[in-house]
Symmetry: D4
Subunit: 163 residues, 8 copies
């Protein structure tokens, strides 16, 4: 069965990145969180990304903030799909991270989700793996139905309460 | 074998979207371009997206500009991976399209590439399908090597010419 | 008499959206708040919007944040006037919501108010309905006079206090 | 029958504003274009806006660029629905106009459309008047169907041509 | 002797606007604070601005936020120098106010200071009045020297403390 | 009679800055254009600004682009009113210039006009000098009436032509 | 041995600037912090910068916010390398400071680091001085290894803890 | 004597990057231009940067656009000073490149110059090398004087011509 790596540039990103791991677990996908930095441990990143496919990973989520190079550098060293999470920043709100992650030049794409969009990064990986693993497809469908049900219930409750 | 849909919101997007189709063809992936709009033909979009998985599509690329809702709406109607291309706009440069595509709320992800990043959208789809189709994996590896070779050649040429 | 729907993408928008309902009530217009999401419950949105005119609604207010597609999708399924409220976001301040709501392509307009501008959304609806319902026209005039009076009083008080 | 005013801050806005008049005419709504400026002819604006309702206007479209105060000032002098068109600017692309038009404080709303969104301003007025005038409702429905048909035809043509 | 008006769009701006009054007082210039809104009390603004020169005012400071039209509208009704203070906003940080105030079209200038720059608005008025009133010139020179001295003292203290 | 200096950071700014000189001449105010740079000729700037008041200047207009420090540096060396013109830039449209000019810290104000707002810089200077020189006041009133007349004529012509 | 000046525009910048001094000390480089302002004490800045090379300084770090002219003005008065730190601002997050510091016109460069990037400013100075001083080179290498080790340890710990 | 590397991410950057080489040559510093990409040839970049110090390079200029990771990745593999040039982009004007280059996380600084600021990148390198090489110091001083002289001449000429 499939394995997913969740990389983050710094330990301080952990809380914001965790929802990716949580939703992947919920969808039955094995995930591993790692701290590695395109700037502080570039050789670790290069080696990990280069060997990721052979090590059995099928997708890599990479979260980083500011000059967020992690996802792009990982994507440069693997052919696996790489999902980038731009982290919110305290000064520019994450606009710096977003542009650093999403504006990749032709040839090396990064599948970018919203600023601090860790949960969606996990769900996107599930959509990708669902093409190959029927169990993930089923888990996703159930999850999708649950999301829908919650929205419907919230609506029902609001209508009941009135304004 | 796999099939990919490339949707665009308007015929005027065609030239900027074509590189997705070109690179997919080069990588041996069948692609179909369609014009449909989340705003002008919402029922067509809903129906297409809802039936896309059963119709044999394995990924959907959606390109739109300004209030670029196409990718998000498609993602709301399917569990397939949806890749969003924010189109450059004449007034805000595509910042409007980018934020409309990438900032999806939790639950429904869109894999966003750069503004006008059609070629990367195609390559991202190939990275996704490569998990399942070894032929795509091989084509991608060849393509990746070619990109690398071109960069190396450009460097060699520049070094030869001197400044 | 006229009926207005106030849609929001998520329950978390409720507090910020309420001023629309409050001002509509004050102006004598019946309003109903609903939670529905262009992404999580797209069929609910499509069905509601498609039938809204026949169900007696005369205007629809739609509030959403981030990739705020709700107002645009609603506008695609109805010919009623649709008022969009871009919700403030914690990272980009609502610039993402604003551009997602206001930059609609030709053919399907959304009447956009300020970020978190729920009260103005309600007043705008009243201005629209006042064309048809003299009572609303009168309520609006009274409300307008009250706003003016409050500003004049605040000025008078400040002048009295001195600096 | 209803009458609509289309105001613009400067003669140089004429070409970009015309689509509002064109679409209104197409939808059977009488429109009048006027040049008046919140800054250069403020008394003209105040007088026009104050008397617009009595003069038989039912909606006012106001287009201006840069520090685009026209729509807001008009809205301050009338209770009619006011639609603001932020004009594209040569330096900031219209971001200045957009924020000047849309970010109205509580009490005085402006229904804002996209940057240079004159056609949508016209259609929005039609949606508003359609509540009162069945003929406008019918014209709008026909127009909406035409927009849809054009999108479907463009799609059909593209599918025929192939890539 | 000269008199200056300090206008603000809303009572909630008072705390942020006060430094203008404080510095003007310190520089020996009589100032009067008033609340009036380009949108809620447009006739008050128009009348005040039109008569300001005859009433003995020699400069007008106008502070407003969001679609900050106050300074521009005042400038449209007087030939006095008008100083605009863009107020910080909770969502866009005041970028909306800044662009609304500073991007005035040709013909009607507003002398814009920084976001929440009330103190500088007062000093700017003093620089203007100093051309005519030697006492203001002297007060300004003293104030300027004081500013310089404070900076020098802060430096001296820091050097003494070491790192 | 009064004298005004118009400084620009580079010869390439000349065409965009000229309207300041043109309008000043029209309003009967003597103006002198100079090229000096806060970065390339800082001593020239410091000396000029320090001596400007004694040399008979009554206001200084300073135009610069990108990291536009000229107006701020001039304002630091004089007590005269300093008007800053942020120049449009080819990459960021002048947002860089605008923020560099307008966001002055407390103590040293720059009266900022719009991006490339040279004409308004000249008119603003005239409004300032009009406090002291009745002839300037009269010229300004005539100019203001002319602006208004042109706007009215443009309107009349448009109404005549119809749509 | 080498000496570095760390200038800041205001005492309020002290806490955010200190990390530059701390890291320089750690790397064995003598640093001196000074408060001087391009706007409030321009002559102090000009004199300090003009004499800095002769006084034995080999690099100057300059931190300022808003219209952050300090680094540019310093660079105009010396040939030493000048490192600019744009300070975070409460309204625009530091975008104003960043553009004011980094967008220097041709001829006078400022080596700009991230918003509030004081620590990196110190490390950058060390990289510069390391070209000349082997001891700095060694200290830097050790520091670089430590940064790497910390990142590796954080990763090891996370892997151990699991998700 | 010293040697400088000028790296660019793509051949299309050549024209905009050349001024760095031109000014370095003028200042008597040997420079070598190379094309290498953090994304397309990451191993080339890692190897080049890792060995640059031993190969005799004393500074590295790195120019890239969009998600501009080149300078950051180079800085991660060397202790030499790295100067980053953010390239202008056709959609966002280079704001994406700027934020990707300048917002480096603590530990690994990039000395960032203006968007398309290649000439300043060269001059900054000269300022750095001037600390060690008196000849560069002299060349810089001469160059600085020349810049100043040109500005003075432009001013003289303008004053002669009059307005």
């Amino acid at each position: 069965m499939s394995k997913v790596a969740i990389l983050m540039g710094s330990k301080s990103d952990l809380e914001a990145v965790k929802p990716a791991a949580v939703v992947l677990k919920k969808l039955g996908i094995e995930a591993e969180m790692r701290i590695m930095s395109a700037h502080r441990t570039p050789f670790v990143v290069a080696e990990f990304a280069s060997k990721a496919a052979n090590a059995g990973y099928e997708a890599i989520i990479a979260a980083a903030g500011k000059s967020a190079h992690l996802a792009g550098v990982v994507a440069a060293h693997t052919l696996l799909p790489v999902i980038g999470i731009p982290m919110k920043t305290s000064d520019l709100g994450g606009m710096d991270s977003l542009l650093s992650v999403v504006q990749m030049p032709s040839g090396i794409p990064v599948a970018t989700v919203a600023i601090n969009g860790a949960e969606n990064a996990g769900i996107l990986v599930a959509r990708i793996l669902a093409l190959k693993y029927p169990a993930v497809r089923d888990a996703l469908a159930k999850h999708r139905a649950e999301i829908e049900r919650q929205a419907v219930e919230a609506d029902t409750e609001l209508v009941k309460e009135g304004i």
